[in-house]
């Protein structure tokens, strides 16, 4: 009997903890529903993954939606498209008025779009456009254009050409990265005097991943003139690897995303020279604005390309504190 009592205690404890967690987290996420403003509108935001940039996107959508008095429910599929489909299906069960999907690096998730289409619920894609075209609207950047701008900047800085190292984020099917690298490569190849060396290791979009990839490239090449990483985090890693190797003065660094630390580094006038301004706040807010027009029955564009200016020492001051995460 003694063990049974213990079993009961464990069961009750677990039950209470579970219930407590449920209620606790439920409270933080739901209350705006009772605001009188526009109580009826609920929006589900399905995120394929969260992380620096995509967390910024989620926050931008939630904030912009709540500013309009909407209830915004955000999910995280942790990189699993099957889970994202489940999240969308759950939104449909809940009877949301609209669904916003941040598909991160996936080129398509037809099951999610088909489910929403069958239920007659509008879908706005933010950042990532899908190959399937049965979404209602898309708001995002032109990644190839961003890459090309960086490439052209590199050409102006190195008129005699040189060795350019490219660090990719991966995984191999990630078309965001593929398009950024394609843009840079296009500009460098057009110049005709660059040796382009793509790191075989993926940097995983992180600073430590970028550092490892760069360490291997530094070992392979005795002279590197410029490094382009598919995002700022990896470029910081590359910059740190070059510093460790005592080769900081030999090269300069470029990235994309327009992260605040990158903007500050550019303002310092060191060897971090350019980034693309890929603003999750702008994209997320515009995604919500487009959804609002759809729900109100007003005219809207299906394809909305957001402006992604390049940030260099010339214009960095105007972007101070306007970038992504701190």
């Amino acid at each position: 009997m003694k063990m049974n009592v213990r079993k009961l205690v464990i069961l009750v404890t677990v039950g209470l903890l579970a219930l407590g967690t449920l209620i606790m987290s439920g409270c933080t996420a739901e209350e705006p529903a009772s605001t009188p403003a526009d109580k009826s509108i609920t929006i589900g935001m399905a995120n394929l993954a969260l992380g620096d940039y995509f967390t910024g996107m989620r926050n931008a959508v939630v904030t912009a939606g709540e500013d309009l008095g909407w209830t915004v429910t955000a999910t995280n599929a942790d990189g699993d498209d099957a889970k994202l489909v489940e999240d969308v299906e759950n939104f449909i069960s809940q009877g949301v008025d609209g669904i916003i999907i941040s598909g991160a690096w996936f080129n398509d998730i037809p099951a999610a779009l088909n489910a929403a289409e069958a239920a007659g619920i509008p879908v706005v894609l933010v950042d990532r456009m899908f190959d399937s075209q049965n979404f209602t609207a898309w708001v995002g950047p032109d990644n190839e254009f961003m890459g090309e701008q960086i490439g052209k900047y590199i050409v102006t800085q190195l008129p005699d050409g040189g060795t350019a190292v490219i660090i990719r984020g991966g995984p191999p099917e990630n078309t965001i990265g593929i398009n950024r690298t394609r843009g840079v490569t296009k500009a460098l190849e057009a110049a005709g005097n660059f040796k382009i060396e793509v790191s075989p290791d993926f940097g995983g979009w992180s600073t430590d991943g970028g550092k490892i990839a760069m360490e291997n490239m530094l070992a392979r090449f005795s002279k590197i003139d410029v490094v382009f990483s598919e995002n700022d985090s990896m470029s910081f890693g590359a910059q740190s690897a070059a510093a460790d190797a005592g080769r900081s003065d030999e090269m300069f660094f470029t990235g994309i995303d327009g992260a605040n630390p990158a903007i500050l580094a550019i303002l310092e006038g060191g060897n971090y020279k350019a980034t693309g301004h890929n603003d999750a706040n702008v994209i997320g807010a515009e995604g919500v604005a487009v959804m609002a027009r759809i729900l109100a029955g007003e005219p809207f564009n299906k394809i909305n390309v957001m402006d992604s200016p390049i940030i260099t020492i010339e214009n960095a001051e105007q972007f101070r504190n306007a970038g992504l995460w701190q």
């Binding site: 579970a18 933080t28 099957a82 759950n90 449909i92 996936f106």
Partner: protein
């Protein structure tokens, strides 16, 4: 040498249902854990409805719930066999991805009929199981290490085959299996249910199935009884491979766009479902019914938390807590037994 029968029939008790020393027994089998699991599912469902403003008990949500548990269910069934025989199969997530992308590639790139592609996906799943099982059984390598290696090996091959996603959304016959619903029940869930029934019959009613449990319980005894331990172990990995292959095809058919990363970390959910269902990772203990309960608990919990708009991070925290609580419960009841 004396022969020992590894699977002895327990004599029937005088009463069909008994409660002794805090244990619930039906026909002589201790079903206390199943009863508790059942209560957990019912409790989850009961708190789910008011918490989700009535959304939980809707036909649409039930269809979703059933569809969502299909792949995890199949993987868990296969995993149960491996765990029963004292192993573990970390490669099932990669097999899901491999079967899915091969089936899609065979249809889209090679022009195979859809049913042949599906079959190919399942057969390759079985082959991966055969390789893992053989390495574990014949070369006496640790299952964790072998299947960890197979996990990365197979995932690497997926990317070698296709760096980019393969789209099958324009092929209705490919996507039919994953999306078809009959009387509110997805076809894929029906297939999963059939697998569970076959699995239960195989495990409890066939000599090979019974010997699987015995292998995990006491390998030497099985050997002395003249049963091939190696054959038994390999069979469990092949079953796991087939289940993962079928799971991969269901998922591919449902999604309509197959990413090379598909199925990543699904093996962990399968292990979790088995453990919650009462399987012992040391082998020899676990039932199909328990695993069904484990799959149900995970699916209802995920669905409930998702509908309730609980931050995904809290979902991970809760899942971890539940697994530890269940393992605690099991270790208590086993010490007692």
């Amino acid at each position: 040498m004396c022969k020992i029968n590894p699977v002895e029939k327990t004599p029937l008790p005088t009463r069909f249902v008994t409660i002794q020393r805090g244990r619930l027994e039906v026909a002589g089998n201790d079903v206390t854990m199943h009863f508790i699991q059942f209560l957990v599912v019912i409790a989850l469902a009961l708190i789910a409805n008011p918490l989700t403003n009535g959304v939980f008990f809707t036909a649409n949500n039930f269809t979703n719930l059933m569809r969502q548990m299909t792949t995890t269910g199949l993987l868990s069934l296969g995993m149960l066999f491996v765990i029963l025989a004292g192993g573990v199969d970390l490669s099932v997530g990669s097999i899901v991805g491999f079967s899915a992308i091969i089936a899609a590639g065979a249809t889209v790139n090679w022009g195979f009929p859809v049913w042949v592609s599906f079959l190919l996906g399942i057969v390759t799943g079985a082959c991966w199981g055969l390789i893992s099982g053989s390495l574990v059984a014949w070369f006496k390598l640790a299952p964790f290490v072998v299947t960890l290696a197979m996990m990365t090996f197979i995932r690497g091959l997926i990317y070698v085959y296709s760096e980019i996603a393969i789209s099958t959304r324009a092929i209705p016959s490919f996507t039919a299996l994953g999306s078809a619903v009959v009387f509110g029940i997805p076809i894929s869930t029906m297939i999963m249910a059939i697998f569970f029934v076959i699995g239960a019959v195989f495990l409890n009613r066939t000599p090979l199935g019974r010997s699987t449990i015995a292998i995990g319980g006491n390998r030497e005894t099985v050997r002395l009884a003249g049963i091939s331990v190696e054959k038994g172990i390999i069979t469990t990995y092949v079953i796991s491979g087939i289940c993962a292959g079928v799971g991969g095809i269901m998922l591919a058919s449902r999604l309509g766009n197959i990413q090379p990363s598909l199925g990543g970390s699904h093996e962990l959910d399968a292990i979790a479902a088995c453990v919650i269902g009462g399987a012992n990772l040391a082998g020899g203990k676990g039932t199909v019914q328990g695993t069904v309960m484990g799959v149900l608990i995970l699916a209802v919990m995920n669905n409930l938390l998702s509908l309730r708009n609980v931050e995904p991070y809290w979902q991970w925290v809760l899942k971890g807590m539940i697994i530890i609580a269940v393992v605690l419960l099991h270790s208590r009841s086993q010490k007692r037994g």
